[in-house]
Structure formats: C-alpha cells, structure tokens
Amino acid sequence: MDTVIETNNLTKRYGDVTAVDGLSLRVAKGEIYAFLGLNGAGKTTTIRLLLGMVKPTSGEARVLGMKIRVWERKPWDSVGYLVETADAYPELTVRENLEAMRRLRPGTEPQAVDRAIERLGLTEYADRRAGTLSHGNAQRLGLAKALLHNPALLILDEPALGLDPAGIVEIRNLLTELVREQGVTVFMSSHILGEVSRLAQRIGIIHHGRLLQELDVDELERNRQRRLLVRARDCEAAHAVLIGAGFSAEIASDGAVIVKDRVAIERPDDVATRLVNAGHAPTMLNVEEEDLEHYFLRLVGMEEGGAK
C-alpha cells in the first residue's frame, strides 16, 4: 500500500488549548479518506498542519513521502487544496482568479483554466467577478483552483459547503471519477455525515483533537447498531409473544416493540410468522439501521435520546 499522507503523533497546541492531540493516521494512494468531526474538533488545524501552514508542536506529517518542514522542499506541485471557506479575489473574474493560480503553479498549461471552468460548471460565470458569485459558485471556484493542475492529492476542507443538493451530487461524482480514473487521493474533512458515508472508503473520526476511530466503510456497516421495529394492533401482546419466544424485546416510548437480537434482525420473516401464529399479526415490521450521524454521536458520547 502506497501511503500518501502519514502523520505520527502529530500535536498542535495554542497556549493551553490542544487543537490536535497525538494524531496518527495513514491515507493510502487512490482512496477517499473522510475526516469527520464536530466544529472545533481539529479538522482544519490538521489540514493546515498537512499543508505546512502551521508548525506542529510535536510529531510529524508526511505528504507524498516528504516531511512537511519549514525551509524544505515540499510536494505542493502535486497537491490541490481548499482550506476552510473558498475565497477568491473579488475584483478578478472567475477566469482571472484561475489564471492567477495557474501562473503560481508553474508547468500548468494555459488550457487548464478552461478545463477547470468547464469541469466545475462555471462556464456561464467565467467572466463574472468573483465577488458577485453565489456561495455555491464561489465554492465551485475554490474547487476549480484545487483541481487546476491535475494534482495527485486533493486536501479539501468541507468541499460540499454551500452547495445545493444537485451540486453536492455533482462534486461527489467528480471526486469519485477522479479517484477511479486518475488514481487521485482525496483527503477531505466534513461534518455532512450522509455525504461522507456515500463518498469515502475510509473514515477517521476526530473529537477534541484526538482520533477516536479510523475505519473502513465496511467496518462502519458492521459497527452500526441495527434493530427490528415491530408494531401490531396490540403491541403489548406482541411484546409478550416475542419475550415468550426468547427474544430480548422491549417497548419503546411510542409503543413500538424493539428487538435487537441478531437472529430477529437477520430473519424478520421468522418474527412475523411467530406473531401471526400467535394471533397478533404485525402491522409494521422494519429493520432500522443506525445512521452515521447517530453512530458518530454515540462514539463521541453525545447521543441524544438513545440509538435510533
């Protein structure tokens, strides 16, 4: 496995505040790694550390095999990035902003500007001043700047921020295509959990500057809590039937019967058969899967009202 990003015990303190605390992670070539955390969890500081914008208090970061250190050669010709909000020179047009960025990235061909404009759907706005763009289009311009030079690694801080649902799908498809067809590696931070679960292959969960968990999407699927939700005309009677059958059923506050036994979740038809045979046919039978949001909140200890 080629490692594109590697951090070892990376720590950043600002006075008494520890923004990033002993972070060790690996991002493999060609994967989309999502860095998940609440506001202030340390996502942006980590990205700034990876980009050499802030110096670590201790530990080290390597990007594309190079240690990120002041005065040393860095891999920025192969890295595209978007940090925090997508900002641009307001008095320059979209095209001029990209042209300025192209010139600061030597070796990027002039056609790259038009290509990026087209790829991000900015053709209509190419000659419009950046200061007049909507938030979503400004975000597209930020992404266009990051993609301009066909980088091997994209480091994106909240790439879907400000985009409408169609824009989010578009960017998701674009990133997936870049990874699939060009072998680009994407390291992205996000708090849009649904987006992360659809896009990323690997997820790192950061809380209070510490990496709580690093897992593949498959592992996430396995770790998510699932439960069978049953409703009948007489839920209490249905509950009694299921208890009698050996299930550890319980009644929720809304009256539904919750069954968490694996055998019930995997074979809900057997549960239905038992209830029908007992004369309490189910009016609803639903296998609910904990979504990423609840999984995340459960992990960071901020779950509200029990698992969904």
Partner: protein
C-alpha cells in the same frame, strides 16, 4: 527565486483590477493641483481675493508664482506626505490577502512564499514610483498651463533629483508597514503603525534627533538639511529589517488566517 516573474505578473493583475491605483493616483494628483492653486493665487492675490478663491484674511507666505516655489512645494509634499500614500499601498497589497482571506491560497504552492512577498514589494515600489512620475508630469503640465516664468534646466534637474531620492527613501521605508500588515492580518494595523511612525517623526524632529529616526529622514532631506551617511544607513537598515521580518513571518509563523 522560484517563479518570481509569474508572481509579479499575478500581483500586477490584482493591483490593476482594483480601484486602488485610481484612488492613489487621485490622492497624489492633489499635490500638483494644490500647488497649482497656490500658484494662481500667488500670481494675482487681489484677483484671488476678489473672486473668493481665498479669504481676505489669508496670509500668503509661500513665495512667488514661479517654478522654484512650485517645485519646492512638490518636493516638500512628496518628502513629508509620500509615506502616507506609499504606506497605504503597502497596507493594501499585503493586508488585502488577510481581509479577503486569500492568503491561505498562497501558502502551499510551488511558488515560494518568499517569491510572493518579493513580488508584492516589487509592485509596491513600481506603483509608488509610477505615482511619483505621474505627479511630476502633472506638475510640469500645470506649471506650463499657468505660464510660470521660464527657469533654467538646472532648477528642474535639481528638483528631479531631490524628488527621486526622497521617493527612494520613502519606498524603502514601507517594508515595516508590510510586516505590520502580515503580522496583524489586515489593512488597519499597518495604517496605525504608519500613523505612529509619522507622529514619532514629528516628535523626534522637534527634539532635534530627526536624522536618526528613519521616517524623519525623507522630510529632512527635501528640506535641504545636511544629513550624514548614518541617516541613509538607518533608512536602509530599517528597510532590510522590515523585509526580513516580512519574509520570516510568511515562511515561519503559523498561518491561521
């Protein structure tokens, strides 16, 4: 220097597209236009009073309506006031990256951060020099239009040299303002630093130590004060310190904006 030429191109593009060149040109144009106004008044004070250009109480001590007086007014204004306008340019060129939050896009590029800083300094110097040339041209145009009595070329050369040296000294002194804009992230702190420097210059001048205070030196120079080499060395060292500080800040300081 890694990609300096392209970085300069980009800085000129940003400057060209903004309204700042126009505003600073208008600001500097006030100097020869203001001088021209005084020339009109000095040419015929009674007429000026009659038509209401000046109050009847106005005391005219500036001199007579000739090229020597007009050019002296210009050199004094550039020597004393140049730092305000050049400082504003430096505040904008560096401070706007923080106000527009675009600085982060300049920090992880194949173009070295030092090249970005130097390109900004080049733009500030060229911009300031261009404004000075423009001001001189307007002065010549206004003077000719007013029909000031002809003067020997020596007077023009001498004024030209004085303005050139004063402009160079003043441009050299904007690097600490660039540092202030970088270290305190925006336009306003460097303007504050500039005002502080101007205020201190007045104070130090009054105390008789002006030749040792860098921001007093251009004004003393255009006043024809005899300055020793130490004054010029102090200006150069201040400039180097400001540039080195700015370069070090961009390279080494934590960039959290």
């Amino acid at each position: 220097m890694s990609n300096l030429a392209q970085a300069i191109w980009v800085e000129f593009l940003k400057a060209r597209r903004s309204k700042m060149p126009l505003f600073t040109a208008l600001g500097f144009a006030m100097v020869p236009l203001g001088g021209g106004f005084f020339m009109i008044v000095l040419k015929d004070p009674e007429m000026a009073r009659r038509v209401g250009l000046i109050s009847t109480k106005a005391q005219l001590t500036m001199g007579s309506a000739d090229w020597q007086t007009y050019l002296r007014f210009l050199t004094m204004a550039v020597g004393a006031g140049g730092i305000i306008l050049f400082g504003l340019i430096a505040s904008w060129v560096f401070g706007r990256e923080y106000s527009d939050r675009t600085v982060k896009d300049l920090l992880a590029l194949p173009t070295a951060r030092s090249a970005i800083v130097l390109s900004k300094c080049v733009v500030i110097a060229v911009w300031s020099a261009a404004l000075s040339v423009l001001t001189c041209l307007i002065t010549l145009g206004v003077g000719a239009a007013l029909g000031l009595p002809s003067e020997s070329p020596q007077v023009f050369w001498q004024s030209g040299i004085t303005i050139t040296v004063a402009v160079c000294l003043t441009i050299a002194l904007v690097t600490p303002i660039a540092f202030a804009a970088s270290a305190w992230h925006g336009y306003l702190p460097p303007i504050g630093v500039m005002m502080l420097a101007m205020g201190l210059a007045q104070l130090v001048n009054a105390a008789g130590w002006g030749e040792y205070f860098p921001w007093s030196v251009p004004a003393l120079y255009v006043q024809g004060e005899h300055l020793g080499m130490v004054s010029y060395v102090i200006v150069i060292l201040t400039s180097i310190a400001g540039l080195a500080g700015t370069l070090l800040w961009w390279e080494r300081a934590d960039q959290t904006h």
